[in-house]
């Protein structure tokens, strides 16, 4: 990556980040390298902040190992209404409920969340196309965690 003087902006980096935004469908990316911090976020043009860290102590907190908490869920994401383990297919042997590219109707089952031995179907709130599956089958999910994007 190109080195930067303090205060000047690496245009190539910003462009790369902007492309990443489009590709991944995220709304915001923030990256820090050494002294430099860049945040690129979507929404009416790209806004770039290049900031030098402040002299005072920032509340340095080790990043919590949390799935959805803190990060903005992508637009159109169906989020988890409960804490549990997500499964993308009805049982280990079967096909997944949906794959990327599928058209779904409102009410179609997208995945299951198992909590306390009870399997809860998560249904699509709208008709649309499955564009992204953000979780792996068998992984734990928390309340509010983004699961599947239906646009």
């Amino acid at each position: 990556m190109a080195k930067n003087d303090q205060g000047s902006v690496d245009a190539a980096l910003v462009r790369q980040l902007a492309e990443l935004l489009d590709e991944t469908g995220l709304t915001e990316i923030e990256i820090g390298r050494g002294d430099m911090h860049v945040r690129v976020s979507k929404g009416g043009g790209q806004v770039v902040h290049a900031s030098v860290p402040s002299a005072g102590p920032a509340p340095a907190a080790p990043a919590a190992d949390a799935g959805g908490s803190g990060a903005a869920a992508p637009a159109g994401a169906v989020t988890s209404p409960m804490v549990g383990v997500v499964y993308l297919s009805p049982d280990p042997g079967s096909d997944a409920y949906v794959t990327v590219g599928d058209q779904v109707s409102e009410g179609d089952t997208l995945c299951l969340i198992e909590a306390m031995k009870v399997f809860n179907p998560i249904r699509s709130p709208r008709a649309g196309k499955v564009t992204r599956i953000l979780v792996n089958s068998g992984s734990p999910v928390e309340f509010g965690e983004a699961l599947i994007v239906v646009e």
Partner: protein, 446 residues
């Protein structure tokens, strides 16, 4: 010893539990609502799990979400803190059914002490003095009238499912009895789903004095002295201190031993507090709290024991390792509860904290999850900090309290610090001459 503890609470007590676990090398899991994503203990925990939206019912009282979080994170124990699910016997039982340790007393003791009628009978049988009153529940207004006459007015009609000052109605004279009885019953039914009530003599000028107990799983029980929590507003404690200015050493040792022996007889384990009303040299049991209490730091300061650590230790099966004769009481300690509210109107004052500077120095402790830039959410209890001071004697404590209150900066919201500053200047408080009605009288509520 546990590898991983899930903290089923929020705010300052969640941070308190996290600190104790961290010092013991135990991994921590913080469960939180969406409103608490920026909470300090969530940021510091090894793992965090969002369990629901801001509402308490859907998050911190959501037993299945919390249990699921424990299961997916692989926690081997849960510490419930105080409030929320800490005295929910069903939750404690469910936790144990899933082979996770509930860091607290047994579900049976939680259930027993949660039923105020059964609790009174059980402790009475174990030798604890109780308030004169009905022998069990009172079913009819005729019986209420008969008891009122027998006990002598004024009397209190109390909900069996109540506690913490809730679900009580006074009958000053015989004329008030029927109404007090019927409304207490109706309100109890509405609030707790259980309309059973009992009747007790109303004490005119009692102090609230409670005994801290600690027991391991092997039958060893100690008492850790008393706390005087008479300064209350609407049954909420505002300031607590230990030792009580009202007790001498003989009385302290006597009631401490009575409480300790009763807990031993009941087979109690973990931390617990027996609350008494004290009047004219007599102690009267009101209730037992089967959990850690908000004001536990006062006891920690004078005994040198970390109560959260001890709870975790005994829950993991370790013996106490000390006996009553090994407990030392040093000096005096006072705790002020700092709430996010207007110090005069008590209107809640949530919002973003600007400058934050906690007092320090010898004998000053602040238990708080606040930090500059933190937003106090509007959904929860208004207590945001506890300022605890310790000194060689009560006078030193008072000076230290005055000094540290004046140093404390919490900018951006209103807090009850000015109320505490007023209290430490009141002659009655300085003399230690106050009962459970004193504060409300001072505030013009009575």
């Amino acid at each position: 010893m546990f590898d991983k503890v899930l903290i089923a609470n929020r705010g300052e007590i969640a941070l308190r539990i996290l600190r104790a676990c961290s010092e013991m090398g135990i991994q921590t899991v913080a469960v939180h609502s969406t409103a608490d994503e920026g909470a300090m203990h969530v940021r510091l925990a090894d793992e965090s799990v969002c369990i629901g939206p801001p509402s308490v019912r859907d998050s911190y009282l959501n037993t299945s979400a919390i249990l699921s979080a424990a299961l997916i994170s692989g926690a081997d124990a849960i510490h419930p803190g105080y409030g929320f699910l800490s005295e929910n016997a069903d939750f404690a039982a469910m936790v144990e059914e899933h082979e996770i340790t509930f860091i607290g007393p047994s579900p049976d003791h939680i259930r027993l002490m949660g039923d105020k009628i059964a609790a009174k009978a059980a402790v009475k049988a174990a030798g604890i003095p109780v308030v004169p009153g009905s022998d069990g529940g009172v079913a009819t207004k005729e019986e209420a009238l008969r008891l009122g006459k027998e006990i002598g007015y004024p009397v209190l009609v109390k909900a069996a499912a109540g506690g913490g000052g809730r679900g009580m109605k006074i009958a000053e004279t015989e004329d008030d009895m029927v109404e007090a009885f019927l409304t207490a019953r109706g309100e109890a039914e509405a609030a707790f789903g259980n309309g059973e009530v009992y009747i007790e003599k109303y004490l005119g000028q009692p102090r609230h004095i409670e005994i801290q107990l600690l027991a391991d799983n092997h039958g060893n029980v100690v008492h850790l002295g008393e706390r005087d929590c008479s300064l209350q507003r609407r049954h909420q404690k505002v300031l607590e201190e230990s030792p009580s200015p009202a007790l001498n050493r003989a009385e302290r040792e006597r009631i401490g031993e009575v409480a300790r022996a009763a807990a031993e007889k009941l087979g109690y384990r973990s931390a617990g507090t027996i609350e008494f009303l004290y009047e004219n040299g007599e102690f009267y049991f009101i209730e037992m709290n089967t959990r850690l209490q908000v004001e536990h730091p006062v006891t920690e300061m004078i005994t040198g024991l970390d109560l959260v650590r001890e709870m975790v230790r005994v829950a993991s099966g370790a013996p106490l390792g000390y006996e009553q004769k090994d407990i030392r009481f040093n000096g005096h300690s006072i705790e002020c509860r700092v709430n996010a509210e207007n110090p005069e109107t008590f209107a809640p004052s949530p919002g973003k904290i600007g400058d934050y500077h906690a007092p320090g120095g010898l004998g000053v402790r602040v238990d708080s999850a606040l930090y500059s830039g933190y937003t106090v959410p509007p959904y929860y209890d208004s207590m945001i900090a506890k300022l605890i001071v310790h000194g060689a004697n009560r006078n030193e404590c008072l000076m230290r309290l005055r000094r540290s209150l004046s140093e404390y900066v919490i900018d951006g919201i209103e807090t009850s610090i000015p109320l505490h500053q007023r209290l430490v200047e009141e002659p009655d408080f300085i003399d230690g001459a106050y009962d459970i009605h004193w504060l409300e009288r001072l505030l013009g509520m009575k």
